[in-house]
């Protein structure tokens, strides 16, 4: 049985925002992550504000500039199967298709996917770890095979669990965030997630009284190819061990511009500038690809049990760049 909480399902955005100003109120979207957190009593929750009555935050539409707007309540299945996404942003469609299981994709939302809580098993278990306000990170010296190789900074070694954030960041998407008193701000998704060194107690820049209302993806430059590849133990449910999202703009056989984002690598979706720099202005031949595979693990700081991630990331990077050249 879940612990007690109060519940409200507002019918207007402004009412939802005023409800969120109470301490320990949480947005409820698809509930696929939040209900698990409640069941394990990971953080105190006094009130759930269901945003599922707010139809305006649902659906996928084209913007005037040729980009796409995705309402925060759009389900992962809808993102995966929508023709606009499949045709223009195949990397995102692929990312969505790799989330969890069919049922969870049918109920989980894109907003919830970006805001989901870490999956570190100490965090999800009965451990009063650093991130939960305790005095110790149990993963540092413990079972850390699924933890990060970048960005832990000796503090907390979670990986960000989302499979939609890496392709969205590769595509330069941003989040529209609503706050109290009608305030609105737009944050590039690249700056949306928070490293432990910046704030150990939150995973996103959202304040407790804010919520994501929509995701905006700008029109892709012509000849941009986007992909996402996720390696995991089972084909359903499992989170990414190592994943790569690419958006690469190739002109006359040369890389004009690229954005490379890793999943399963860091506490935030991890932009690999090292790979981007290596492939810039070059033809994607076997030499370039081998250099990129070297670059992807440059500066990595693996833990005792996750060393396997280094060759894994190298292999995935190599295969994905190769696949990209074969698409041409």
């Amino acid at each position: 049985m879940l612990p007690h909480f109060s519940y409200i399902r507002p019918e207007t955005g402004s009412e939802a925002m005023s409800q969120l100003s109470d301490p320990e109120s949480f947005v409820l979207a698809g509930g696929t992550d939040l209900l698990g957190c409640l069941r394990e009593r990971i953080f105190p929750v006094r009130k759930l504000v269901s945003i599922n009555g707010l139809a305006q935050f649902h659906g996928i539409t084209e913007t005037e500039d040729g980009g796409v707007r995705i309402g925060a309540l759009t389900t992962i299945t809808e993102v995966e199967t929508h023709p606009l996404i499949q045709n223009r942003f195949p990397g995102l469609a692929r990312g969505a298709s790799e989330v969890a299981s069919p049922q969870l994709r049918n109920q989980g939302t894109i907003g919830g996917n970006l805001c989901q809580k870490p999956r570190c098993w100490y965090y999800r278990g009965e451990f009063d770890c650093l991130r939960k306000g305790g005095s110790q990170c149990f993963a540092a010296e413990g079972q850390n095979q699924f933890h990060c190789i970048f960005g832990g900074d000796g503090i907390c070694f979670i990986v960000h669990p989302s499979d939609t954030a890496p392709p969205l960041i590769a595509l330069n998407a941003s989040a529209v965030i609503a706050g109290p008193k009608g305030k609105k701000r737009q944050v590039p998704l690249e700056k949306f997630h928070v490293l432990p060194a910046d704030d150990l107690h939150k995973e996103t820049v959202l304040n407790p009284d804010e919520m994501v209302t929509e995701i905006l993806i700008p029109p892709p430059p012509p000849r941009t190819r986007s992909t996402y590849r996720k390696v995991r133990a089972r084909r359903a449910w499992d989170f990414s061990l190592a994943g790569v999202a690419l958006a690469v703009h190739i002109e006359d056989n040369k890389v004009v511009n690229s954005r490379v984002v890793l999943s399963g690598a860091a506490p935030v979706p991890w932009r690999s500038k090292a790979v981007e720099d290596v492939i810039q202005d070059r033809e994607l031949n076997s030499k370039t690809i081998a250099d990129a595979a070297q670059a992807v693990v440059e500066g990595a700081e693996p833990l005792e049990h996750n060393q396997y991630k280094l060759p894994l990331f190298q292999g995935v990077m190599e295969e994905e760049l190769l696949a990209l050249t074969n698409q041409a």
Partner: protein, 205 residues
């Protein structure tokens, strides 16, 4: 409410009384009540532990139920209404035993709050029956021997039913993907895939 009506709603007189005994009113309502306009009021906060009235349809029958905000749909189906065809495996979205259709789409009842089903149509494995006869997907599972212990079966059947409602002629890859959110510890997978294929054919006739 006649006995016959309450039975059709998946509630027997006995389970109705048990329910009342637990301090919860579970009422198989008439169509008139369901389509009433009483829902137009502004939403209010439902306090923790306080029962809240929801209306929904379950297997084509309208219900008005009093539920606590923290109750999952799975809890309400099994413990309040007595529809025990839907199983609890893991209770955390990792096995699929609790799969039901909500507005024809497969979801995990263990990861859905009952209050969130307000106004929606829920279909459970009991809802696939035609009177005493098995539904098409159920028949196909029997024909193809698509289970051993049977614990995962109602979830597998509901995932398959949802798949076939959206995609009446799935490819074998689509079938595998369609039931990929349902674990079978007995490993009956090949027979399950065959059953879904057979069900698709049977539904065409």
């Amino acid at each position: 409410m006649s006995d016959k009506d309450s039975k059709r709603g998946g509630i027997t007189r006995r389970s109705f009384i048990t329910t009342m005994g637990a301090g919860v009113a579970g009422v198989a309502a008439s169509g008139a009540l369901f389509s009433g306009t009483s829902q137009a009021k502004a939403p209010e906060i439902h306090k923790a532990g306080e029962a809240m009235r929801i209306t929904l349809t379950i297997n084509d029958h309208p219900y008005v139920l009093l539920v606590e905000p923290r109750w999952t749909l799975l809890h309400v189906l099994r413990e309040v209404i007595g529809l025990t065809g839907t199983k609890e495996g893991c209770g955390r979205g990792e096995c699929g035993a609790c799969t039901v259709l909500i507005d024809d789409i497969p979801r995990y009842a263990c990861m859905t709050l009952a209050v969130e089903a307000q106004g929606h149509a829920v279909t459970t494995v009991e809802g696939l029956m035609h009177g005493e006869d098995l539904g098409v997907v159920q028949q196909a599972f029997v024909q193809k021997d698509a289970f051993q212990c049977g614990y995962c079966t109602s979830g597998q059947i509901m995932a398959s039913e949802g798949l076939l409602r959206a995609n009446p002629l799935p490819s074998s890859e689509e079938i595998r993907r369609g039931v990929s959110g349902n674990l079978c510890r007995c490993g009956a997978y090949t027979h399950i895939f065959e059953a879904v294929e057979a069900a698709a054919e049977m539904k065409q006739k």
